[in-house]
Amino acid sequence: MSRRPRASGYFRTGYAQDLKLVETRTERWSLGAFVVALLAFPFFASAFQLDLANQVFLASIGALALMLLTGYAGQISLGHAGLLAAGAFTAGILFKEVNAPIWVTLPAAAVVGALLGVVFGLPSLRLRGLYLAVSTLALHFLVVYLGGEYENKRGFSTGILIDAPTFGGWTISGGRTWYFILGTFAAATLLICLNLLRSGTGRAWAAIHAKETVAEALGIGVAAHKLLAFVVSSALTAVAGALFAYYRGFVSVEAFSLFLTIQYVAMIIIGGMGSLLGAILGAVFVTLFPYAIEAAIGALPGAQRYAGLLFAVNYAAFGVVMILFLVLEPLGLVGVWKRVQSYFLLWPFKHRPMSGSRR
């Protein structure tokens, strides 16, 4: 991870400073303001806006996990929806069969996710690129099939209903409570990712991403680190799936179609590969996009006529946006953001000075 110093020069004099996540005063203030805004948001927002925010939080957990795997460790996965389904079904099945409380089901989902991560990751030891993507795609279908089979065999053919979870005699329900819980989980996931990426593990992933042979020659255990990437990412994803199940109060295989995988992949592409900020931006964009389309269509005259076609319009518009990003802006939203940033930083100049002269 090449972290350019964000202060006007390189002022770090010790390792402790090098490890700081927040460097400058401006950064500290803006981060503080952002956190305060996030904390204040639920007291002003409507129920609908709260629901949107919660969906964004859930999506960002999944997107961060996928970014860790694809954007940093360079392992392509098209089985993300399968992992979300695994987490959701773990929570649902444990709740239905043994009436397990949430502090059991969430860790259980993480464990199931980690185990599945090993299964999803094993092909990566032999396969690369396209073939790896295909094998994870196949595993997605397998997981979803098993979930559907459970639903059918146990007679929950429409889906599993889950009661609002209780934690120490306190029932978690209502958009505002969920907002804080999901927000905490999303923030924790972000912190985990940030810290993992600047540890030895993260550097090993970056090395594997860049060139496997060289990484091996440098003494990095390629196989172990690849599996670890899958395990960490899948565990986080499964937790997101379980939280999704509790938040919706309902699990059904229909929710975990191939399209969900595509949406998550779109998040990290639209956000910008290889950037945690990108994962979050992408999650915000992809989650809010259908609602923006809906609002745009609602503003058109004769809106009722199109109501039945809304999902088709969504599909088409989503495809167009994805293609536009892939073709025109491969760096994603982060690329746009960086360009805007450097425009103001460099003003009145247009280009960065030659690299090397600035460090």
Partner: protein, 290 residues
């Protein structure tokens, strides 16, 4: 006996679809995950031409197939051409995005309801009795015939045809092919066109046989394991792979559980990836392209 006929029909469907995957992959090393949607688009083209030529159904089919050839070329010219030289993953994701877009557009234009182009064309799908007590529908028999014809002509084209040899050359080494004066963009466009053409042939015949709705794209995706099992760059492999996948699917559905239908191809795929990732007949390439 009926089981054998079922296997043959399903294998023919998979083979006809799978050769589209193989063509594009062999020539440009791009995995076209929008193939299922392109195939469905071909079937909807038939709905359009059926309205024009309602009295002559072969004309309608030929017109629809011609339109889909054009679609494939246009997809390459306006979309995939921009992705040549990009990362393979980006190209694959572009096809995924194209699939999403096409699906939305098709629902917008033709609605999500099931449609029966056979009725629009006024052709009866008669059932033919075969020796041994088995039955096969007219369009299924036509499908098997078409598959045999398509594979025969494709193999001959790639072996003897001038453009076929160019396609093989471009697939083996784009750089050398370009230096020998082969127009790569034309070759790639042709591959996309032919792939869409064969895919929509499958889509059209399927639609004539059993109706047309949004689930057809899933059949397209299920044919992909067939292509990979045989080896993504081998036409003969696609044929063999389709037979294996179809046999596994029909037998498992018959003897174990009908719900397995959705996953069987992917189970075969996983097994194949574990044992021989490059497929039965595929060339063992350096799997290091992303």
């Amino acid at each position: 006996m009926q089981l054998a006929v079922n296997i043959a029909v399903l294998a023919a469907i998979y083979a006809l679809i799978a050769c589209g995957y193989v063509l594009v992959y062999r020539v440009s090393r791009v995995l076209n995950l929008a193939h299922g949607e392109l195939m469905m688009l071909g079937a909807y083209m038939l709905m359009v031409t059926a309205a024009q030529f309602s009295s002559y159904w072969p004309v309608a089919i030929i017109a629809a197939v011609g339109l889909s050839l054009l679609t494939g070329v246009l997809v390459y010219l306006f979309l995939m051409r921009k992705m040549t030289g990009e990362m393979v993953l980006a190209a694959v994701l572009t096809t995924v995005a194209l699939g999403v877009l096409l699906r939305g557009v098709m629902v917008l234009v033709w609605s999500a309801q099931q449609q029966y182009p056979a009725q629009a064309l006024g052709v009866a799908n008669t059932s033919i009795a075969l020796p041994g007590g088995a039955r096969i529908s007219f369009f299924s028999a036509l499908l098997i015939l078409t598959t045999a014809l398509v594979y025969g002509s494709l193999l001959a084209f790639l072996r003897f045809g001038r453009w076929g040899i160019r396609m093989r050359a471009a697939g083996q080494s784009p750089l050398l092919a370009a230096q020998r004066g082969i127009n790569l963009h034309a070759v790639y466009a042709l591959a996309w066109g032919l792939s869409t053409l064969t895919g929509s042939l499958a889509g059209i015949l399927l639609a004539l046989d059993s109706g047309l709705d949004q689930t057809m794209a899933i059949i397209g995706l299920k044919a992909f394991p067939a292509a990979l099992v045989g080896g993504l760059d081998s036409l003969v492999g696609a044929l063999v792979g389709s037979l294996i996948v179809a046999a596994a699917e029909v037998l498992l559905i018959h003897y174990v559980d009908p719900l397995l239908s959705e996953v069987v191809p992917f189970l075969v795929l996983i097994a194949m990836l574990v044992v021989r990732p490059w497929g039965l007949f595929g060339t063992r390439e350096e799997l290091d392209r992303v």
